[in-house]
């Protein structure tokens, strides 16, 4: 437990990783619904000097 804390991860990170892996280990019929849970509905757009920069996606979007 302390190993990932030392590396700078939090329990939230731990939880997200565990949840993702669990979704992958489900039987095929449950996987489509699970995949829907994985999608993130958040898109970050950093602004600089009055201009929108490239959209940032969350880790979930980059993974799936």
């Amino acid at each position: 437990m302390s190993s990932w804390r030392q590396a700078g991860l939090t329990y939230v990170n731990y939880s997200n990783i565990a949840a993702k892996l669990l979704r992958r280990a489900l039987k095929p019929e449950f996987r489509t619904e699970a995949a829907r849970r994985e999608d993130s509905n958040i898109r970050f757009t950093p602004w600089k000097d009055g201009k929108a920069q490239k959209h940032l996606t969350t880790a979930a979007e980059t993974e799936s």
Partner: protein, 257 residues
């Protein structure tokens, strides 16, 4: 100082404080000894309280009230339902043995009354159990017998009147023992468990599924991928993530069997 000739030991179960609010005892709780001096009478009440299942003597504070002649009320604070109080009443010989004889039965009456009400005392409280995951509620304030949860400090079982606890969950199986004898196993990826002082239990999982919904082959795949990630990881963060994945994978494989 005084001579004692009359000693009675009375065992009585401690009831919720609101039920015995007007029961007062002088305290002897492994440190404290009090005498109560009344005109013409010296009583020494000795009381120790211990938990029902272990031999720890717990410190309590007690008070004696005497609202009426020959009527003594004993008040215990700091004890819990189910604790056992050993009360001894020592009457001073030199004083009014006759009054002691009168008071004695009154005390008996008190304690017998309390003992008889204990037969009707409420039994174990319900344990409203809630188990919810991101998109599914498995139990919603359901009445269950016992729940086993896998936490970072080990797998522990929760029964009614468990000590209030907050714990985080490890990937593992939550076993619910329902009232009709059925056992339900739910694999939980992570989350929290709270046990409140009213005995309600909430397990909030990030992602949960019945163990029947796990695919053994997919679980083994997850584990092997995690192990290879761990071997090839370079940065600390990647190593930690891979180690987490291995842990989760192992729990998945174990549960899916």
């Amino acid at each position: 100082m005084v001579h004692f000739n009359y000693l009675e030991t009375l065992d009585l179960n401690i009831f919720p404080l609101q039920q015995i609010a007007n029961l007062s005892i002088l305290s002897l709780s492994n440190t404290l000894l009090t005498t109560y001096n009344l005109p013409l009478l010296t009583f020494l009440f000795v009381c120790t309280v211990r938990r029902a299942d272990d031999s720890d003597v717990i410190p309590i504070s007690l008070k004696l009230r005497n609202p009426e002649k020959f009527l003594y009320w004993l008040e215990v604070s700091g004890a819990y339902v189910g604790d056992i109080a050993f009360i001894s009443v020592i009457f001073c010989r030199d004083e009014m043995a006759a009054i002691a004889r009168t008071v004695g039965p009154a005390l008996h009456f008190l304690t017998r009354k309390q003992v008889s009400t204990s037969l009707f005392a409420r039994g174990y409280a319900d344990m409203p159990f809630t188990l919810a995951a991101g998109n599914q509620v498995f139990y919603d304030n359901a009445d269950v017998k016992q729940v086993d949860v896998p936490s970072f400090s080990g797998t522990f079982g929760i029964l009614p009147k468990h000590v209030p606890t907050l714990a985080v969950l490890k990937p593992g199986i939550v076993t619910v023992f329902e009232n009709d004898g059925k056992t339900n196993k739910i694999f939980v990826s992570s989350g929290t468990v709270s046990i409140n002082d009213d005995s309600s239990v909430q397990v909030l999982a990030e992602e949960a599924c019945l163990v029947q919904q796990l695919d053994a082959a997919a679980a083994r795949e997850v584990l092997s991928k995690a192990q290879s990630d761990l071997a090839s990881a370079s940065t600390d963060v990647a190593k930690a993530e891979a180690a987490i994945s291995v842990e989760v994978g192992e729990a998945l494989v174990k549960a899916a069997e």
